[in-house]
């Protein structure tokens, strides 16, 4: 099975002599020093394929947009985003990620642009296994590769859509190639230079399998800044399905519902939050406000008193809310 994959390099004396005679005498000992040094993750995968990973996956239906000029950024992003359900093409993304003077696209802008279409951007941990896990879960992964050699960099975005353990190859949508198969070793070698930078852009009702609660919440908050409310609401709901105990997830869901003037939904999300986190001043404060706006002032005052009594960084905000609720009761 390891044939065509990565058999460990074994050096005989002759090969060594040849190597040292060649002009790359300085670089090659490093290369030949072993995969573990140069391609640690590929080597680790070869030795120990994670039990939760399939042998072979390919997302055939991921679309392909051949890149124009230097615009692999817009092309790769469109590939991932269209598969995520966004109605967008590479040309729409040029003025959202492309820098004409640099002739390329920055990583931060790749993450930022997807949010404007109501997708949530997630930067993967720098792990080969995580990349494969996302692909296996049905999400194409955008990677940043460097096809140059020191000191020249040729940064390039491509989208990983499949892998095969037996052949030891990954399948990419890359540049002008719809289906580029490259060995894991080559992928890691080129990908390593970007510190294993990889991202996905998923529809708001999905949470990437490799996401972690705190970071995912930040990713959703980042999306909420620029996307429409319906997308944000779906994202918070999905977050709560995955992590039902997330306090800020519930507060986020309630805030979007509140902004949409869906007060009953805001109330039920906050009640759940207060039940799970009785000492959250934010949840108490916001629930009090929502109830007050539904003219349930008595209940609102009890809750806001509890919020104020908790003190902490939100004490001032809670006091302000209490004043407002009281003013309302004073009115005839």
């Amino acid at each position: 099975m390891l044939k065509g994959w990565l058999a460990s390099p074994k050096l005989d004396a002759r090969a060594c002599a040849g190597v040292f005679r060649c002009a790359l005498a300085l670089a090659l000992p490093l290369w030949l020093g072993g995969c573990a040094l140069l391609l640690p993750q590929t080597e680790a995968l070869r030795k120990d394929w994670p039990a939760d990973l399939a042998q072979r996956i390919e997302l055939d239906s991921v679309p392909f947009f051949p890149q124009k000029d230097y615009q692999c950024g817009p092309a790769s992003l469109a590939t991932a985003m269209v598969y995520g359900g966004a109605a967008v093409g590479p040309d729409d993304l040029v003025d959202k990620v492309y820098l004409p003077q640099r002739g390329g696209s920055l990583q931060v802008e790749m993450l930022a642009a997807a949010r404007r279409y109501g997708l949530v951007s997630w930067q993967l941990a720098p792990r080969f296994g995580d990349l494969l896990r996302e692909v296996q879960a049905g999400t194409p992964v955008i990677t940043m590769q460097d096809y140059g050699t020191w000191p020249i960099h040729y940064w390039h975005y491509a989208v990983v859509v499949g892998f095969d353990r037996d052949t030891g190859k990954a399948v990419l949508r890359s540049g002008e190639k719809r289906r580029l198969e490259i060995p894991f070793a080559v992928l890691e070698y080129t990908w390593k230079e970007s510190a294993y930078w990889a991202m996905v852009a998923v529809p708001p009702d999905r949470v990437p399998v490799t996401a972690t609660e705190t970071q995912w919440l930040q990713a959703v908050v980042a999306m909420e800044r620029v996307a429409d409310r319906q997308a944000a609401r779906a994202a918070y709901a999905a977050l709560l399905r995955r992590w039902p105990d997330s306090l800020n997830g519930a507060i986020g869901l309630a805030n979007v519902a509140y902004a949409q003037r869906d007060l009953p939904a805001a109330e039920s999300a906050l009640r759940e939050a207060v039940q799970r986190h009785p000492d959250s001043a934010v949840a108490l404060n916001n629930l009090a406000q929502v109830l007050s706006e539904q003219n349930r002032t008595e209940e609102a005052l009890t809750l806001i008193d509890a919020a104020v009594a908790l003190g902490g960084p939100f004490a001032a905000a809670a006091q302000e809310t209490r004043e407002q609720i009281r003013k309302k009761t004073a009115r005839p």
Binding site: W31, L32, C35, Y70, Q71, C72, G73, S76, D95, K96, V97, L99, P100, Q101, R102, G103, G104, S105, L106, Q107, V108, E109, M110, L111, A112, A113, M144, Y147, G148, I152, H153, Y154, W155, H156, Y157, G175, I182, A185, V186, Y189, T190, S194, Q218, V221, A222, R225, V226, N248, G252, N255, Y258, A259, V282, N285, N286, Q289, P313, F314, E320, Q324
Partner: protein, 118 residues
């Protein structure tokens, strides 16, 4: 005309424009971003620095050939942390672009790797 005071005034005006567009107005409700940021207790000074960085980065994007409105919208879709990572760095950060000559190098690498690990 381009005195230091004039430039400072421009910076201030740009910054205040940004500040206005990022304000969220929900009286009585504590915002999600505030709740999330509570752990890091963002000071007003940090908020001002963020606002300044945003106008800085928008200006840099314009220097890279992006038109002003697009630059503003692009910055708006970044998080504070992302903005800080770009401020003053746009020239040196990697920008994915390669095609053409890049592929020649790519082929050489692929051949080398294949040669040694086949």
């Amino acid at each position: 005309m381009k005195s230091a005071a004039f430039r400072a005034l421009c910076r201030f005006l740009i910054a205040s424009l940004f500040a206005m567009s990022f304000q969220s107005a929900m009286a009585g409700m504590i915002g999600t971003d505030q709740a999330v940021a509570a752990a890091s207790t963002q000071s007003e000074r940090a908020a001002l620095i963020n606002t300044m960085s945003r106008s800085d980065v928008a200006g840099q994007l314009q220097l890279q050939g992006v038109d002003p409105d697009a630059a503003k919208a692009r910055v708006a879709s970044m998080t504070d942390q992302e903005v800080r990572s770009l401020a003053g760095q746009i020239d040196s950060l990697p920008a994915g672009a390669s095609s053409g000559s890049g592929w020649a190098v790519a082929i050489v690498i692929v051949l080398l790797v294949w040669y040694f690990w086949k």
